[in-house]
Amino acid sequence: MDGGPEPDTNTGTVKVEGRSPGQLMWIRFKRDRTGVISAFVVAFFFLVAAAAPLISKLYGKDPYTIYADVRPELFDSAGVPVQPNGGISSEFWFGLEPGNGYDVFTKLIYGIRTSLMISLAVTVAVVLTGILLGVTAGYLGGKTDFFIGRLIDFLLAFPSQLFFIASMPVVVSLFVSPRDQTPTYVRVVALIAVQWVLGWMSLARILRGTTLALREREFIEAAKVSGASPWRIIRREILPNVVTPLLVQTTYTLPYLVTGEAGLSFLGVGIVEPTPDWGQMFSKASTELVLQNDITYMFFPGVSMVVFIVAFNLLGDSVRDAFDPKTAR
């Protein structure tokens, strides 16, 4: 609020019968309709992802059946569904994928499942690393801080996408098994690894900053004077106070990682056919086959992802505002 009398707003909010920041945040959040709705949307996606096997069981199909061979009458010789709109029908709700003719509906929910699984894993890894290095650097300062700082600078100078592409085959080849199929989990692990390595810096930076600021604050000083061990101070004094930036950052990180993962699979270095994956669907959607004959197909991964990302970003904003009502909206 430009020129708005800040101090009073504070007293207004902070003094609501001594509720804990957490409760306050929760109260404000519940009051924020967009926030709640987007929270539900996001939750829905995770639910779908989690329940994908169940859903497809009820729906009676799986994302691996090659309908182009099982039901050849539905396709032409190039594998394009003969019915309009990519063969959408009461039987195949979202139609069939041009090419091998997978069932788009199940492929989509399984694809979401894969993508979210991976991104979630990366997020966790990134957050942990971020906290570890960020807080350490901020708290210890000095040489450690310098070293970690330089490391961050260095990694930030990396052309990350390029690095991903270059390192994926390498990482995958670390698990080569001569006679057996390269298991999907290997690619998954590789994806998680590369994204993690170049993913944690920004969070670490922010946490470093916060910690640095906190370190100067009286209560930390007090704790120091009272002879509490650094570990204890970090655990009891610092961590609780970095929760806010942490939570906010994380809600922004996850969607970013989802799109990143999808990007890699889109470029063909991530998850590949037949494993269903959001990004892999995009790479399918960008083939001549689809562009020429079946635009319908690309809307399913496309729209679903846009909805997911929007919801998640909105959620992020609400979380931020809930924590800190002063920030501009």
């Binding site: 430009d2 020129g3 009073d8 007293t11 909010t13």
Partner: protein, 353 residues
């Protein structure tokens, strides 16, 4: 001597002598958590050449009041009722363009933290010159010279050069001087100083206060001096208004209020104020409890949750009935006049040493 207004309930017509008169001001704004009634029925006047000190804890509505006078509140979230007459001009209903003509011209403001209050992107000289160009329609050149002159007035050494500097190149005290120069560049009739010295260390504080006094002599402008520090007010203000939870609880001349305070809150303030002459054994005793939420103000006397003298009033009056602020020298409290006197003389004064 400043004439003090009649009862807030029935505001008297604006005093002819008064340059600024505020009548029954209500300011409230919406926040995430509900409507905050920041100012709740406030009335006062300021005369040219005189200084009104407004005292109170942060959140008592001091700053809001004065931002409202210049219309610096955010209309989107804020609703203002009552009337503000500046030199006969109604400000609450005035259009933005009108207000712009007033701001920095008839009425100027000095803010608490000169570091954040000055733009880091422009030279001090330019920032001082700007309002002069705007209000006096002066040329760049003239305005710049004026800026240098003002800097000299507020005692910046080698102003010609310093004018070219950026705020971050100034020391805290110099910044505040620059602020003052900026406020006075169009010699305004009203100067609102919002805790101008809190951010400064004691010695600089003194200098700044002196400077203000001198300049007041020279420009003869009325000053509203906001602070939570009674010590400062003592040697600045002619009159004092004590604010609590958005309304005035006591008012009178500086002498009256400081020598014979009548409101428990004022006592509390005096009590909690450290004194140079107090012997070391003497503990500071802050007012118990915290300022009330303006979202859900306490019933009856806003101060009753923290008031240690409720029982003297007896019954539930303090909780149910809101005490009014009597005309002239007065305080909004249910205690009887002699109760107030005796309590102060017998219980408070001794502790003030």
């Amino acid at each position: 001597m400043t004439t003090l207004t009649k009862d807030a309930g029935t505001p008297a017509p604006a005093d002819a002598g008064a340059f600024l008169s505020v009548r029954d001001l209500h300011v409230s704004f919406k926040t995430e958590d509900g409507v905050v009634r920041a100012v709740d029925g406030l009335s006062f006047d300021v005369e040219r050449g005189k200084t009104l000190g407004i005292v109170g804890e942060s959140g008592s509505g001091k700053s809001v009041t004065n931002l409202t006078i210049l219309g610096l509140h955010n209309p989107q979230f804020t609703t203002v009722e009552g009337e503000i007459l500046l030199d006969g001009q109604e400000l609450i209903t005035a259009r933005e363009s009108e207000l712009e003509k007033v701001r920095g011209n008839k009425a100027a403001m000095i803010f608490q933290d000169p570091l954040t209050a000055l733009s880091p992107y422009y030279t001090v000289g330019r920032q001082i010159a700007e309002p002069f160009m705007k209000h006096r329609g002066a040329s760049k050149r003239a305005a710049w010279d004026r800026a240098v002159e003002m800097l000299a007035k507020v005692g910046i050494p080698n102003p010609k050069e310093r004018a070219k500097d950026y705020p971050h190149q100034f020391s805290g005290g110099m910044r505040q001087r620059a602020m003052i120069a900026m406020a006075l560049v169009c010699d305004p009739d009203l100067l609102i100083a919002d805790e101008p010295t809190t951010a400064l260390d004691v010695t600089v504080q003194a200098q700044i206060l002196d400077l203000l006094k001198d300049l007041q002599q020279e420009f003869g402008s009325g000053i509203i001096f906001i602070t939570h520090d009674l010590g400062v007010i003592a040697d600045m203000a002619d009159d004092i208004m004590v604010m609590y939870a958005g309304s005035a609880v006591e008012r009178g001349t500086t002498n009256e209020v400081l020598r014979a305070p009548q409101h428990p809150y004022t006592w509390g303030l005096l009590n909690s104020m450290p004194r140079l002459d107090s012997d070391l054994g003497m503990p500071l005793n802050p007012i118990p409890g915290a300022p009330p939420s303006l979202l859900t103000p306490p019933s009856g006397c806003r101060f009753h949750p923290r008031c240690t003298f409720q029982d003297r009033v007896g019954g539930t009056r303090c909780v149910t009935e809101r005490p009014l602020l009597a005309p002239d020298r007065a305080s909004a409290c249910h205690l009887t006049a002699d109760q107030k006197r005796t309590i102060f003389l017998e219980e408070i004064k001794p502790r003030l040493a």
